[in-house]
Subunit: 392 residues, 2 copies
Amino acid sequence: MKIDAVEFFYLSMPEILDIGDGSQDLLLVRIVDSTGAIGWGECEAAPLVSIASLVCPKSHSACKAVADSVVSQRIDAVSDISRIGRLVHQNSMDVLQADHTLSGIDIALWDLLGRRLNEPVYKLLGYPHAYPKMPYASLLFGDTPHQTLDDAKKLRAEGFRAIKFGWGPFGHTTPAADYDQLAAAREGLGADGILLVDAGTVWAGDFEAARARLDAVKHFRATWLEEPFRSGELEEYRKLAELSGDVKIAGGEGCHNFSMARHMIDYAGIGYVQIDASRIGGITPAKQVADYARAKGVTFVNHSFQSHLALAASLQPFAGIESDTICEYPVRLKPLAWEATCEHLTPDRNGQIQYPEVPGVGMTPDVVALKKYLLDVEIKVRGEVLYRTPVL
Amino acid sequence: MKIDAVEFFYLSMPEILDIGDGSQDLLLVRIVDSTGAIGWGECEAAPLVSIASLVCPKSHSACKAVADSVVSQRIDAVSDISRIGRLVHQNSMDVLQADHTLSGIDIALWDLLGRRLNEPVYKLLGYPHAYPKMPYASLLFGDTPHQTLDDAKKLRAEGFRAIKFGWGPFGHTTPAADYDQLAAAREGLGADGILLVDAGTVWAGDFEAARARLDAVKHFRATWLEEPFRSGELEEYRKLAELSGDVKIAGGEGCHNFSMARHMIDYAGIGYVQIDASRIGGITPAKQVADYARAKGVTFVNHSFQSHLALAASLQPFAGIESDTICEYPVRLKPLAWEATCEHLTPDRNGQIQYPEVPGVGMTPDVVALKKYLLDVEIKVRGEVLYRTPVL
């Protein structure tokens, strides 16, 4: 079978708020093969930029549109997916955005193959069994400690034993203000809950600012402190990890290829590597990271802050690793991200997320619900239309 | 003074050949401040993708159009340039393309400030003096060893003592074929010439393929073997460097931020770090790399394969480092890249490239000549025009 079409759909809430909430828009990917079979994927990305990288005119032999390495390629077996990924890396090496763009394509190819072969993606990845994960509720810090307290209490009452607060005001003002936020989070969650803290790269390049918060993070017994710095600030990460005691350092969501994640594991001293399949180049390199992390004694955790299609994709790479027990589970998604799929991953009676035991990634976009979020996009070069929003 | 406008111009040859020649198109950047003063820059990038990243709709607080962090910002002093760079990193963290886009903006800001302060950029960087560099003629391997031999002879006759061959068929077939190419290059250049070899990442992820060529590279006494792997494949780089003897390993052109270049220096065992100011985020991070490389005993070399505006920008970061003596000098530029500037950097009677002792980066785009290469681009979202090619 060959790939007949790669279609990108830019979906957005009517209004985008200036907050760290990644569920406000999404880039949906539909791949159709020569038999008419379909696979769905999602890119965590600036949608317009990724669309441009899909269709851009060639600049030279290593700077071509991503679509050039995908359309008309054979897709008969799992090995074709990594072959197509290598083609994209080779032909679009100088298109920086290409890794984000490839992510949704790779996911859609796994979905397509899984549907065709009647297997969940995790089985195609070689895992005989998918172990359920304990979801941690992932949300933004409240604007005030009081709001954080409220949120933590509510989520605990909803059954979440683990909660991650991130972004918002955290790290932006004083260590004392951050102390109050952490105190509120711990109080709302209760003494026995698992508290995770996400600094959202707020101290990029500023080691001392991170260190100034470390005692508070330890005091409130966070399991991890996430992204104190930007992905790739390996030395700052490592220095902080040497001081962090029982608190592990977590990071990796910014990695857009396997090498970057490998370096976080090898050189940054992290205890948890957080990988977004919609950003690192898809399920293929995410699985590579899961294998590498296991060999190095680092825990793999998915990163996901978009629809349940992206969430389900992000869970596949570590489905069969029994000892990696927790997963990110975004709560308070915007309506777009929630309505994006017909099915949803919700905690079972034990508070666990079970993998969908259905072919492919396991989520079907709700194309009827999504139509109202679909943006008209048109890109013309030399008067020629290179991209126009396809019919969903 | 404030930044009034950031304008991007996509210029292209009428036909783009499927070869590794980066001079076939370019993305010119013009920044205008509130006094009407102008600065010029250039991005090494897929132009359409970088344009999209300049103007894309906001996705969330860390995924905004690059222009949002630049337009209306104050530009009074050198410190404003790095401040604007940090803003872009913060506000466009999840726009992968943003580093390429920032590159041309950063260069244009240095150019603007240099013109306003009546100083060459290298002086604003803190160098009291610019030391001339010995250019190495940089071109593609011939399709046959015979063509490579011819090219080497001609360039030697033109006065180039150092030549770098790269890309083309090199590395794609057998070690024996590569041996013949290297033999031809060495023969054409002469026994006393400086031979540099650029593998153009052809052995990405395949250490053995690189090792199979190492003896030939040593035999023909190349000064360096460049980019055997992709930027960031630190372990493969280091393993090869341990075996390469007198041949140094060079790399770094794919780095799109300071951290990546730092890791090439710290972990990859390279002897030369090659930085493209039009790709790493501009002159600001390129200078950071030059400082770091000097401290670590690694030689800094510019990377450049575009117009003489990009070339002049790429030379600024190591202008004052007397011990870093060679520079990349692309020959066989396409007419677009040559015609792009009113002035050119040509070897003096001693075969050296002298820095332009004029304010700014030192190159003025030839807007009359460029008009014929300017592409009409239009990007519309929800019917609203986000980008239309400005008047050059």
